[in-house]
């Protein structure tokens, strides 16, 4: 999964910092498409931008376990339960790959987790929507992970080595996520009229929030230009959104569902699908904490962290005692 939160306001814009003293070899490496590695000199603003983006990406993976985790105990078959368990475990794994990549920039895991829990760091707005039916699990795999893949594949070529390598691993695993979702929906569409209606209802609810995952329109994007220049971002929000819509419309037709947009139609002149206006008011409301599940998600993360404190402490003390015993 993925965050659109890279372009959010409320964090320091990086453009002003571009004027700082040049770092030896940095611009040359970017120009030659040579990866920047942790020990290389890099502008402070580049480091900060990456820490923000990678940590918020990691937070999104971790919070993203909650909406799907909601259905693990209620999966309709053992097969679907095993698949969903594996998928949610992957999301946790992706969060860990990304936290580790961010740590190479000199930020501690504790600091990142604290920023998530005190609300100063963002995570993807998509996870503030509820999972109301089993069809949501299929739609999340198909559309949410589909959008994530569209966003993430270019990040495999990101200029920062550890982030690029983490993203290669993430992308390898995302294909399973999207396919299991679509496979689940195909099975439901072969079922009863009620099951087909459940799929359509889930698609109706998720479609617009999924389009918002790509972030604000290019002209409203805060960090877009600098991130492009630094090779962190390779395509603009609107380009990625269009790519996703073009790929998804035929998949909806094969599945037999209607995407809830009367303005959605093929534009032969552009060679793309046109689609209707996105309700950005809804997007900003969710980003600001007023989405359907913002408070519930944060409360669940804080509770998990606090309930786990004694486990972390006990494991640490046990390891220290073991080391002390071996020393004798």
């Amino acid at each position: 999964m993925y965050t659109q939160a890279l372009d959010l306001p409320g964090v320091q814009a990086t453009d002003s910092a571009v004027t700082e003293a040049p770092c030896v070899g940095f611009d040359e490496k970017l120009a030659a498409d040579i990866k920047i590695e942790p020990s290389d000199p890099m502008p402070d603003a580049y480091r900060k931008t990456l820490i923000r983006q990678i940590s918020q990406h990691a937070h999104s993976e971790i919070v993203g376990m909650l909406p799907e985790g909601n259905w693990i105990t209620r999966a309709p078959t053992l097969k679907r339960k095993a698949i969903l368990l594996a998928k949610v475990q992957d999301e946790g794994g992706h969060g860990l790959y990304l936290y580790a990549a961010a740590e190479t920039l000199g930020v501690s895991r504790d600091t990142m987790v604290a920023a998530l829990l005190d609300g100063s760091a963002k995570y993807s707005s998509i996870f503030n929507y509820p999972t109301l039916s089993w069809a949501d699990i299929g739609v999340i795999g198909w559309l949410v992970d589909g959008a994530a893949i569209t966003n993430q594949v270019p990040l495999c070529r990101c200029s920062y080595g550890p982030y690029a390598r983490a993203m290669v691993r993430v992308c390898k695993e995302e294909s399973f996520h999207q396919r299991q979702g679509y496979d689940l929906l195909v099975a439901m569409m072969k079922g009863s009229a009620a099951q087909r209606a459940m799929v359509q209802e889930a698609v109706d609810r998720w479609w617009w929030p999924v389009l918002m995952m790509f972030g604000p329109h290019d002209q409203d994007s805060v960090h877009g230009a600098t991130s492009m220049k630094w090779g962190i971002k390779r395509f603009s929000n609107d380009d990625l959104r269009q790519k996703f819509v073009d790929a998804t419309v035929p998949q909806a037709e094969v599945l037999g569902v209607t995407l809830p947009d009367p303005d959605l139609k093929w534009n032969a002149e552009r060679g793309h699908y046109d689609f209707g206006a996105i309700d950005w008011n809804e997007f900003w409301q969710v980003v600001k904490g007023n989405g359907p599940c913002n408070r519930e998600r944060m409360a669940a993360r804080i509770k998990a962290h606090e309930d786990g404190a004694w486990v972390r402490e006990a494991a640490r003390v046990h390891a220290e005692k073991k080391t002390a015993r071996q020393a004798h």
Partner: protein
């Protein structure tokens, strides 16, 4: 709010893939000790049988050329494992070992033994501080991953028109 600043020590993780010849640096994780780090490394980094051998080492034991070497000096030479990243963008790969009394000397010996790579990066770490999955587990440690074929994209046969998804 309690428990924010209680992270466990950091370990670097190296994995040898099933057909690989050498251990490659994968990433890092936090664990209470080496044993714990091995278990976590399996679950975090080899959920799809990405490897059949794991090494973990405390991040504080890793020294890189051009940076402050890890502390610790012995009177007689001890063995250090050497990892090389040929150029930016690649992982550090295990290329052999050298004997030295401290990390700085090990880095110099490694450059003599394996050559200097201007765009490359060398890591050395004391062999004695490496924990390996071979020591305690062999097959069974990784076997549980083998029967979870539903983790692979090929498990799902979609309608032909969209099967390239």
């Amino acid at each position: 709010m309690t428990g924010f600043h209680d992270q466990w020590p950091q370990y670097e993780v190296f994995i040898k893939s099933r057909n690989g010849l050498e251990h490659k640096h994968f990433s890092s994780l936090h664990a209470t000790d080496g044993q714990h780090a091995l278990l976590l490394a399996r679950d975090v980094y080899t959920r799809r049988q990405e490897g059949n051998s794991l090494w973990v080492v405390a991040a504080s034991d890793v020294s890189q050329n051009g940076a402050e070497p890890a502390a610790g000096r012995s009177d007689t030479p001890r063995q250090f494992e050497v990892f090389l990243r040929l150029k930016p963008g690649l992982d550090h790969k295990h290329i052999g070992s050298v004997d030295a009394c401290d990390a700085a000397a090990a880095l110099r010996s490694a450059e003599t033994a394996f050559g200097q790579y201007p765009a490359g990066s060398l890591w050395v770490l004391p062999s004695a501080s490496v924990l390996t999955s071979e020591a305690e587990w062999s097959g069974p440690f990784f076997d549980a991953m083998a029967d979870k074929t539903y983790r692979l994209p090929t498990f799902y046969q979609l309608p032909a028109a969209v099967n390239n998804m």
